[in-house]
Amino acid sequence: MWNWIQRFSSPKHFYSMSVPLIKWFAIAALVIGLYGLYLGLFVAPTDYKQGDSYRIIFIHVPAAWLAMFIYMVMAVSAGIGIIWRIRLADMVAAASAPIGASFTFLALVTGSLWGKPMWGTYWIWDARLTSMLILLFLYLGYMALQSAIDDQRSADKASGLLAIVGAVNIPIIHYSVEWWNTLHQGASVAKFDAPSIHIDMLIPLLLMAVAFKLFYATMVLVRTRNESLYRDRNRRWVREIVEKL
Protein backbone atom coordinates (compact mmCIF):
# COMPACT_ATOMS: atom_id res chain seq x y z
CA MET A 1 0.00 0.00 0.00
CA TRP A 2 2.70 2.47 1.03
CA ASN A 3 4.81 1.63 -2.02
CA TRP A 4 1.77 2.10 -4.17
CA ILE A 5 1.13 5.57 -2.77
CA GLN A 6 4.79 6.45 -3.14
CA ARG A 7 4.80 5.38 -6.76
CA PHE A 8 1.61 7.18 -7.74
CA SER A 9 2.50 10.33 -5.89
CA SER A 10 5.89 10.61 -7.53
CA PRO A 11 6.18 13.86 -9.47
CA LYS A 12 7.43 11.95 -12.49
CA HIS A 13 4.36 9.74 -12.62
CA PHE A 14 2.07 12.69 -11.98
CA TYR A 15 3.67 14.72 -14.75
CA SER A 16 2.68 12.29 -17.47
CA MET A 17 -0.57 11.14 -15.90
CA SER A 18 -2.04 14.62 -15.53
CA VAL A 19 -2.11 15.45 -19.25
CA PRO A 20 -5.46 13.84 -20.16
CA LEU A 21 -6.99 15.03 -16.85
CA ILE A 22 -6.11 18.64 -17.65
CA LYS A 23 -7.67 18.34 -21.09
CA TRP A 24 -10.99 16.92 -19.88
CA PHE A 25 -11.31 19.21 -16.86
CA ALA A 26 -10.69 22.21 -19.12
CA ILE A 27 -13.30 21.12 -21.66
CA ALA A 28 -15.87 20.40 -18.94
CA ALA A 29 -15.19 23.76 -17.21
CA LEU A 30 -15.62 25.62 -20.50
CA VAL A 31 -18.85 23.86 -21.55
CA ILE A 32 -20.53 24.04 -18.12
CA GLY A 33 -19.32 27.59 -17.53
CA LEU A 34 -20.64 28.90 -20.85
CA TYR A 35 -24.00 27.20 -20.32
CA GLY A 36 -24.20 28.56 -16.77
CA LEU A 37 -23.35 32.07 -18.00
CA TYR A 38 -26.02 31.84 -20.69
CA LEU A 39 -28.67 30.73 -18.19
CA GLY A 40 -27.57 33.25 -15.59
CA LEU A 41 -27.40 36.29 -17.84
CA PHE A 42 -30.18 35.64 -20.35
CA VAL A 43 -32.60 33.05 -18.98
CA ALA A 44 -32.79 33.50 -15.19
CA PRO A 45 -35.63 35.83 -14.16
CA THR A 46 -35.08 39.27 -12.67
CA ASP A 47 -35.22 39.35 -8.86
CA TYR A 48 -38.33 40.82 -7.24
CA LYS A 49 -36.34 43.13 -4.99
CA GLN A 50 -32.87 43.53 -6.36
CA GLY A 51 -33.70 43.71 -10.06
CA ASP A 52 -30.86 42.65 -12.32
CA SER A 53 -28.11 43.53 -9.85
CA TYR A 54 -28.52 40.12 -8.25
CA ARG A 55 -26.93 38.56 -11.38
CA ILE A 56 -23.59 39.28 -9.70
CA ILE A 57 -24.48 36.24 -7.55
CA PHE A 58 -23.46 33.92 -10.41
CA ILE A 59 -19.85 35.12 -10.05
CA HIS A 60 -19.74 36.20 -6.43
CA VAL A 61 -21.03 33.06 -4.70
CA PRO A 62 -19.12 30.49 -6.81
CA ALA A 63 -15.95 32.57 -6.30
CA ALA A 64 -16.45 32.69 -2.52
CA TRP A 65 -17.23 28.96 -2.32
CA LEU A 66 -14.18 28.17 -4.43
CA ALA A 67 -11.95 30.43 -2.34
CA MET A 68 -12.90 28.46 0.79
CA PHE A 69 -12.72 25.10 -1.00
CA ILE A 70 -9.22 25.82 -2.31
CA TYR A 71 -8.12 26.81 1.18
CA MET A 72 -9.26 23.47 2.57
CA VAL A 73 -7.44 21.64 -0.24
CA MET A 74 -4.34 23.69 0.49
CA ALA A 75 -4.45 23.08 4.25
CA VAL A 76 -5.09 19.33 3.89
CA SER A 77 -2.34 18.93 1.25
CA ALA A 78 0.09 20.89 3.39
CA GLY A 79 -0.78 18.61 6.32
CA ILE A 80 -0.20 15.48 4.23
CA GLY A 81 3.09 16.94 3.02
CA ILE A 82 4.31 17.69 6.53
CA ILE A 83 3.16 14.43 8.16
CA TRP A 84 3.82 11.81 5.47
CA ARG A 85 6.48 13.71 3.53
CA ILE A 86 4.69 13.29 0.23
CA ARG A 87 6.32 15.86 -2.02
CA LEU A 88 3.44 15.97 -4.48
CA ALA A 89 1.12 17.13 -1.67
CA ASP A 90 3.43 20.06 -0.91
CA MET A 91 3.41 20.94 -4.59
CA VAL A 92 -0.40 20.87 -4.74
CA ALA A 93 -0.56 23.19 -1.71
CA ALA A 94 1.93 25.61 -3.26
CA ALA A 95 0.10 25.49 -6.59
CA SER A 96 -3.26 26.17 -4.95
CA ALA A 97 -2.33 29.35 -3.09
CA PRO A 98 -2.21 31.84 -5.99
CA ILE A 99 -5.44 30.47 -7.47
CA GLY A 100 -7.16 30.70 -4.10
CA ALA A 101 -5.89 34.23 -3.55
CA SER A 102 -7.20 35.36 -6.94
CA PHE A 103 -10.68 33.93 -6.31
CA THR A 104 -10.83 35.43 -2.81
CA PHE A 105 -10.01 38.75 -4.45
CA LEU A 106 -12.76 38.16 -7.02
CA ALA A 107 -15.31 37.37 -4.29
CA LEU A 108 -14.36 40.56 -2.41
CA VAL A 109 -14.51 42.80 -5.49
CA THR A 110 -17.81 41.42 -6.80
CA GLY A 111 -19.29 41.59 -3.31
CA SER A 112 -18.24 45.22 -3.14
CA LEU A 113 -19.80 45.94 -6.55
CA TRP A 114 -22.99 44.30 -5.34
CA GLY A 115 -22.96 46.05 -1.97
CA LYS A 116 -22.76 49.57 -3.36
CA PRO A 117 -26.16 49.65 -5.12
CA MET A 118 -27.96 47.31 -2.70
CA TRP A 119 -26.60 48.09 0.76
CA GLY A 120 -25.38 51.58 0.00
CA THR A 121 -21.67 50.98 0.63
CA TYR A 122 -18.71 49.34 -1.10
CA TRP A 123 -17.28 48.09 2.15
CA ILE A 124 -18.31 47.61 5.76
CA TRP A 125 -16.34 46.00 8.56
CA ASP A 126 -18.86 43.29 9.14
CA ALA A 127 -17.90 39.79 10.26
CA ARG A 128 -18.42 38.09 6.88
CA LEU A 129 -16.45 40.67 4.93
CA THR A 130 -13.67 40.92 7.51
CA SER A 131 -13.17 37.16 7.77
CA MET A 132 -13.06 36.96 3.96
CA LEU A 133 -10.37 39.66 3.91
CA ILE A 134 -8.40 37.64 6.46
CA LEU A 135 -8.64 34.66 4.08
CA LEU A 136 -6.95 36.77 1.39
CA PHE A 137 -4.19 37.70 3.84
CA LEU A 138 -3.70 34.04 4.77
CA TYR A 139 -3.19 33.17 1.10
CA LEU A 140 -0.76 36.07 0.64
CA GLY A 141 1.08 35.09 3.83
CA TYR A 142 1.45 31.51 2.56
CA MET A 143 2.84 32.75 -0.76
CA ALA A 144 5.23 35.15 0.96
CA LEU A 145 6.61 32.38 3.18
CA GLN A 146 7.00 30.07 0.18
CA SER A 147 9.05 32.59 -1.77
CA ALA A 148 11.06 33.91 1.18
CA ILE A 149 12.61 30.66 2.41
CA ASP A 150 15.20 29.20 0.07
CA ASP A 151 15.28 25.67 1.44
CA GLN A 152 12.23 24.01 -0.08
CA ARG A 153 11.53 21.63 2.78
CA SER A 154 11.66 24.43 5.39
CA ALA A 155 9.51 26.63 3.16
CA ASP A 156 6.87 23.90 2.90
CA LYS A 157 6.94 23.34 6.65
CA ALA A 158 6.61 27.00 7.59
CA SER A 159 3.96 27.91 5.03
CA GLY A 160 2.12 24.63 5.60
CA LEU A 161 1.88 25.37 9.29
CA LEU A 162 0.37 28.77 8.51
CA ALA A 163 -2.14 27.11 6.16
CA ILE A 164 -3.20 24.58 8.81
CA VAL A 165 -3.52 27.13 11.61
CA GLY A 166 -5.38 29.50 9.31
CA ALA A 167 -7.99 26.83 8.57
CA VAL A 168 -9.92 27.93 11.69
CA ASN A 169 -10.97 30.91 9.60
CA ILE A 170 -13.06 28.72 7.27
CA PRO A 171 -15.84 27.83 9.76
CA ILE A 172 -15.68 31.43 10.99
CA ILE A 173 -16.43 32.67 7.46
CA HIS A 174 -19.27 30.20 7.06
CA TYR A 175 -20.99 30.85 10.38
CA SER A 176 -20.15 34.58 10.63
CA VAL A 177 -23.60 35.51 9.33
CA GLU A 178 -25.18 33.53 12.17
CA TRP A 179 -22.78 34.30 15.01
CA TRP A 180 -22.62 38.04 14.48
CA ASN A 181 -25.08 40.70 13.50
CA THR A 182 -23.86 41.12 9.93
CA LEU A 183 -25.11 43.25 7.10
CA HIS A 184 -24.41 40.29 4.85
CA GLN A 185 -27.46 38.07 4.44
CA GLY A 186 -27.61 34.46 5.55
CA ALA A 187 -27.12 31.37 3.40
CA SER A 188 -29.56 30.80 0.55
CA VAL A 189 -28.37 27.45 -0.71
CA ALA A 190 -26.56 25.64 2.11
CA LYS A 191 -29.56 25.34 4.40
CA PHE A 192 -31.16 22.26 5.85
CA ASP A 193 -34.59 23.18 4.60
CA ALA A 194 -35.31 24.07 0.98
CA PRO A 195 -32.99 26.69 -0.54
CA SER A 196 -34.55 30.16 -0.47
CA ILE A 197 -33.64 30.84 -4.06
CA HIS A 198 -35.88 30.21 -7.04
CA ILE A 199 -35.03 27.10 -9.04
CA ASP A 200 -34.39 29.07 -12.27
CA MET A 201 -31.77 31.10 -10.40
CA LEU A 202 -30.40 28.15 -8.44
CA ILE A 203 -29.54 26.04 -11.52
CA PRO A 204 -27.20 28.61 -13.16
CA LEU A 205 -25.68 29.29 -9.73
CA LEU A 206 -24.85 25.62 -9.20
CA LEU A 207 -23.60 25.25 -12.79
CA MET A 208 -21.25 28.19 -12.31
CA ALA A 209 -20.07 26.73 -9.00
CA VAL A 210 -19.24 23.41 -10.73
CA ALA A 211 -17.53 25.25 -13.60
CA PHE A 212 -15.39 27.25 -11.16
CA LYS A 213 -14.36 24.05 -9.33
CA LEU A 214 -13.45 22.38 -12.64
CA PHE A 215 -11.44 25.46 -13.62
CA TYR A 216 -9.53 25.17 -10.37
CA ALA A 217 -8.97 21.45 -10.97
CA THR A 218 -7.50 22.28 -14.39
CA MET A 219 -5.26 25.08 -13.23
CA VAL A 220 -4.01 23.36 -10.07
CA LEU A 221 -2.84 20.43 -12.22
CA VAL A 222 -1.10 22.79 -14.66
CA ARG A 223 0.60 24.63 -11.80
CA THR A 224 1.55 21.43 -9.98
CA ARG A 225 3.26 20.24 -13.18
CA ASN A 226 5.26 23.48 -13.20
CA GLU A 227 6.12 22.97 -9.54
CA SER A 228 7.32 19.42 -10.17
CA LEU A 229 9.50 20.53 -13.10
CA TYR A 230 11.03 23.28 -11.01
CA ARG A 231 11.55 21.31 -7.80
CA ASP A 232 12.96 18.27 -9.62
CA ARG A 233 15.07 20.41 -11.97
CA ASN A 234 18.23 18.51 -11.09
CA ARG A 235 16.68 15.06 -11.49
CA ARG A 236 17.07 12.92 -14.55
CA TRP A 237 13.38 12.62 -15.47
CA VAL A 238 13.05 16.39 -15.77
CA ARG A 239 16.28 16.67 -17.75
CA GLU A 240 15.05 14.04 -20.18
CA ILE A 241 11.73 15.84 -20.68
CA VAL A 242 13.31 19.26 -21.11
CA GLU A 243 15.93 18.03 -23.57
CA LYS A 244 13.19 16.75 -25.85
CA LEU A 245 11.33 20.09 -25.89
Binding site: G51, D52, R55, S102, F105, P117, V222, V238, V242, E243
Partner: protein, 55 residues
Protein backbone atom coordinates in the same frame (compact mmCIF):
# COMPACT_ATOMS: atom_id res chain seq x y z
CA UNK B 1 -29.35 45.42 -16.80
CA UNK B 2 -31.99 47.70 -15.26
CA UNK B 3 -29.64 50.53 -14.28
CA UNK B 4 -27.07 48.20 -12.73
CA UNK B 5 -24.97 47.77 -15.88
CA UNK B 6 -21.81 49.18 -14.31
CA UNK B 7 -21.97 46.89 -11.28
CA UNK B 8 -23.04 43.73 -13.11
CA UNK B 9 -20.72 44.06 -16.14
CA UNK B 10 -17.98 45.35 -13.87
CA UNK B 11 -18.21 42.14 -11.86
CA UNK B 12 -18.17 39.96 -14.95
CA UNK B 13 -15.21 41.93 -16.34
CA UNK B 14 -13.19 41.42 -13.15
CA UNK B 15 -14.10 37.72 -13.27
CA UNK B 16 -12.82 37.52 -16.86
CA UNK B 17 -9.56 39.20 -15.89
CA UNK B 18 -9.07 36.81 -12.95
CA UNK B 19 -9.77 33.75 -15.12
CA UNK B 20 -7.46 34.92 -17.94
CA UNK B 21 -4.75 35.79 -15.43
CA UNK B 22 -5.03 32.30 -13.96
CA UNK B 23 -4.55 30.80 -17.44
CA UNK B 24 -1.70 33.04 -18.63
CA UNK B 25 0.45 33.02 -15.46
CA UNK B 26 1.22 29.27 -15.33
CA UNK B 27 1.95 29.22 -19.08
CA UNK B 28 4.55 31.96 -18.66
CA UNK B 29 5.86 30.27 -15.53
CA UNK B 30 6.35 27.00 -17.44
CA UNK B 31 8.29 28.77 -20.20
CA UNK B 32 10.51 30.40 -17.62
CA UNK B 33 11.22 27.13 -15.78
CA UNK B 34 12.04 25.26 -18.99
CA UNK B 35 14.31 28.06 -20.18
CA UNK B 36 16.14 28.01 -16.87
CA UNK B 37 16.63 24.23 -16.91
CA UNK B 38 17.87 24.36 -20.52
CA UNK B 39 20.42 26.99 -19.56
CA UNK B 40 21.64 24.81 -16.70
CA UNK B 41 21.99 21.79 -18.99
CA UNK B 42 23.98 23.86 -21.50
CA UNK B 43 26.29 25.27 -18.83
CA UNK B 44 26.91 21.86 -17.35
CA UNK B 45 27.73 20.31 -20.73
CA UNK B 46 30.23 23.12 -21.43
CA UNK B 47 31.87 22.61 -18.03
CA UNK B 48 31.96 18.88 -18.65
CA UNK B 49 33.68 19.25 -22.02
CA UNK B 50 36.20 21.73 -20.54
CA UNK B 51 37.12 19.41 -17.72
CA UNK B 52 37.51 16.60 -20.27
CA UNK B 53 39.88 18.75 -22.37
CA UNK B 54 41.90 19.64 -19.31
CA UNK B 55 42.80 16.01 -18.63
Amino acid sequence: MGGYAFFVWGSYAVALIVVLGNIVTPIMQRKKVIKRIKRTIKRESIELSRSNQGQ
